[in-house]
Symmetry: C2
Subunit: 317 residues, 2 copies
């Protein structure tokens, strides 16, 4: 754990968080909206926000940036960040120039994985996979304290591993990705399909959203399931079965010591973690001697800035 | 590449190969059968074979052993080697004692992956996944020149990633693993099911195996497909679709620079590689900027001894 102060910046499609970090502790932080701003405006605002947070005369040991996109290892070039509308944007270079400090850039979910692996639910384990289930599914892989980044910085997209090879179309153009069945949008999709197929069984869920199938959200499905609605429970049954299959694939492919699960869907409907754990264990019972525990993520919304800051610090000589 | 002579031992359920290796070159080698022998007998014979291969007075720089089982990183303890009937056998310790030389032990497919990644079809790439499709599917992961071994030494079992979560039972107890659709046994299974479901369409294939459904082998399906038999072609269509899905999952999860494909099924029916490549590319076209090339494995049956020897050499101070 680093004793010096580092800076972490977490840039997403709607907001950016800027923080001063010491180990897992957030010493100071400030957020600003990013929607509708150009890349140059976001870089300028991030640099100004960080300067305002820093005590007079102080310089951070390192500056790390997590961004919602594909980042080239080394250069900090953002190949693609769809939610920000960026393509081939030299974020590392521009922020280094704006701050006059070296900046390290990585994917935001990789940053969150680093934080959970080193300071959160994965601490002490030599290999960790983290899965964050929100609207989509993001994930990251930590092995021996190092983030696995892959050839073009995109490693860890377990949400787009295929669990149903003849299944539904995914937002990525592939078919049967884990996201189609277990991400927030996949769960809402399953519920809409089930309600359309059987409007009588769907009445209770429909009533929660004003009678419009298109208004069914993951949150509404979660609340209906918690209230015991059979259709909503069936949707989560399917999601848990698919997630259990995806988790079993992770165990067989990577043999992690621990799997960390976080994100809005997990927090909104915690039963999913328990059921997915059962399904995963049933799938692995006959072949795997030691099945890794599933651990709820611990660091919440600050995992991105903590991870970016501490990863940059660990990778700065 | 090491200039010194290293020793590689590859222990499988039917035979063991012992070799002296320099880089990717096999300088001398000898094999012996392992079937029906105890672990102690195999260790004794491997040590005697290696001593006989070594020039008088020479000692190898390192001794590496690849074994068809799950191997604890560090200790060289073999948790499980089903084809050898071993459970918790201290292979590293026993062979070190028999040879009076330090011995490094790893899984045999991990060893073959190391060889292909460093000296074979993956050389020069910073991250490589290798997939060997024979009766089963073995695989390994190489990142920045290091083998990913996982928490209990079992990383790389992509054959047991789930591509069809409600699919057929696998030999491992799980459901819908890639092996059920694309391993040799899975392809034979699909063909037997297709012939049973439609005996008229299956006549040509059945005639090749003496009329007995149970005698349908992967080789027979491959020969029938090469001869243009529609049922056999349909089976390989399904296998290629599932393999394309599995490869797309590998790309999304690990972002390798290159994927190496080897093994008997690939060699017996090379069209599978081409079709699986098309299917993988179709699944990734919209989301992945650079799709890694699929490369045929180059080192053949010696990849195990080369990989074990050179991995041990690279990990010996």
């Amino acid at each position: 754990m680093s004793e010096a102060l580092s800076a972490g910046i977490d840039i997403g499609g709607t907001k950016a968080e800027v923080a001063l970090v010491r180990g897992r502790e957030v010493v100071a932080h400030q957020r600003f909206p990013t929607g509708g701003k150009t890349a140059e405006e976001i870089v300028g605002e991030a640099a100004a926000t960080l300067r305002a947070l820093l005590p007079a005369g102080a310089a951070p040991r390192a500056v790390g940036v997590g961004v919602a996109g594909r980042v080239e290892p080394g250069s900090g070039l953002v190949f693609q960040a769809p939610n920000l509308g960026w393509k081939s944007y030299p974020l590392g270079e521009r922020l280094t120039a704006a701050l006059r400090l070296p900046v390290s850039v990585l994917n935001d979910v990789q940053a969150a994985t680093y934080a959970e692996g080193v300071y959160g639910a994965g601490r002490g384990a030599s290999s960790v996979v983290a899965l964050f289930i929100g609207t989509g599914i993001g994930s990251g892989i930590l092995e021996g304290g190092s983030l696995l980044r892959g050839c073009s910085g995109s490693a860890g997209e377990w949400g787009h591993s295929v669990v149903d090879y003849r299944g539904a179309l995914c937002t990525c153009g592939n078919r049967g990705c884990l996201e189609t069945l277990a991400a927030g949008w996949g769960i809402a999709r399953l519920a809409r399909e089930a309600v359309t197929a059987d409007p009588v069984a769907g009445e209770a869920l429909l009533a929660r959203v004003g009678g419009e199938v298109e208004h069914i959200t993951t949150r509404a499905v979660g609340e209906a399931a918690t209230a015991g609605d059979p259709l909503a429970l069936g949707v989560f049954e399917t999601a848990a079965e698919a997630l259990g299959a995806g988790l079993a694939s992770i165990v067989n492919a990577l043999d992690p010591c621990r799997i960390v699960l976080g994100g809005g869907v997990m927090e909104g409907y915690p039963t999913l973690l328990k059921t997915a754990d059962e399904r995963m264990r049933a799938r692995l019972a006959a072949s795997v001697a030691v099945i890794p525990p599933l651990m709820p993520a611990e660091l919440g919304r600050f995992s991105g800035v903590i991870g970016a800051a501490e990863w940059a610090s660990a990778n700065t000589p």
